[in-house]
């Protein structure tokens, strides 16, 4: 069972990382075009979404808990996770030469972008869970049908 648990965590982490890389790349394209259109990057720029996604994934995984949290605790935990990501991304942005944080709208746009990616990633993960729930429901129907035909206990 422990092995299964680690497998689930690994799948969840990889899924989140891939999702974040995609969303951050889209965000960078949009923000770059709106705020810093003329800039030319070297190939190193391709690392940026990978690094930012890693920050997001680590912040999410370390604040993840196996405890059964109440909705209130869950919202608090998610808020802490978002603040950690915002802090890390803005800290990197302020110290990176490639991001023009001297321009007025860049830092707020970056913070808003991180928030949008955070919300979008949760919405997409919800839909993935929904798909999983549909599969569980199909398996549940099959299980119940099988039990009804074989056991006199539950009818």
């Amino acid at each position: 069972m422990k092995r299964q648990k680690w497998k689930e965590l690994l799948i969840h982490t990889l899924r989140l990382y891939t999702l974040l890389v995609t969303l951050i790349t889209v965000l960078m394209i949009i923000l770059g075009n709106l705020l810093d259109r003329g800039r030319v990057f070297s190939y190193d720029a391709f690392f940026s979404p990978l690094v930012y996604a890693l920050i997001g994934t680590v912040a999410t995984v370390i604040t993840r808990s196996d405890q059964e949290l109440s909705v209130r605790s869950l919202i608090i935990r998610k808020t802490i996770s978002l603040l950690l990501i915002e802090g890390a991304v803005i800290f990197i942005a302020l110290n990176a030469d490639t991001i023009p944080t001297d321009k007025r709208w860049v830092v707020p746009a970056l913070a808003l972008g991180v928030f949008i990616v955070f919300v979008l990633s949760h919405i997409i993960l919800y839909f993935i869970d929904k798909k999983e729930a549909e599969k569980l429901n199909a398996d549940l129907s099959r299980y119940q049908e099988k039990q009804m035909n074989s056991s006199p206990i539950n009818e």
């Binding site: 969840h12 949290l69 869950l74 998610k78 929904k130 569980l136 119940q144 206990i153 539950n154």
Partner: protein
């Protein structure tokens, strides 16, 4: 307490006889266990004893070291630990879904995602209970035909 077992011919019905001076907690536990093996659980509600058929049970929840059983519309208390009940009912379609709850899989209408990778189970009486993320892999395994 003296324990006596006796092999009988197949023509005679099998039976358990308990001889007691007083119904102590120990005796009551033995009675409850025997009844549960026959598909009934000895429970208490408003100070009265009730026999609840296992097939009517929706879920069981442990609250402050007390264990409650829930049917479609009623709740009962049972003198047992959750893990003991889980063990007793594990081959009767009951599965642990959180630290404090076991559910009858036959009473679930559907499952839907809740927050943070958890799922909720909608029961046949319309009630909704949370399936903790930790127990989802086991649930999947059972539904795919794995062992309890």
């Amino acid at each position: 307490m003296k324990l006596e077992t006796r092999k009988i011919p197949e023509s005679e019905p099998e039976m358990v006889e308990i001889r007691y001076h007083w119904i102590t907690d120990e005796i009551q536990e033995i009675i409850s266990f025997v009844k549960s093996r026959q598909g009934q659980l000895s429970t208490v509600r408003d100070g009265k004893r009730y026999e609840v058929p296992v097939m009517d049970l929706f879920y069981a929840e442990s609250v402050d070291d007390r264990l409650f059983l829930y049917t479609a519309a009623d709740s009962y208390e049972i003198r047992m630990k959750l893990y003991e009940l889980e063990d007793l009912l594990k081959n009767k379609s009951f599965i642990r879904i959180s630290k404090s709850m076991i559910v009858n899989l036959m009473k679930i209408t559907s499952v839907r995602p809740a927050l943070n990778g958890r799922f909720s189970a909608i029961l046949k009486n319309g009630e909704e209970i949370i399936i903790s993320r930790k127990y989802v892999p086991a649930l999947k395994q059972i539904l795919k035909g794995g062992e309890f």
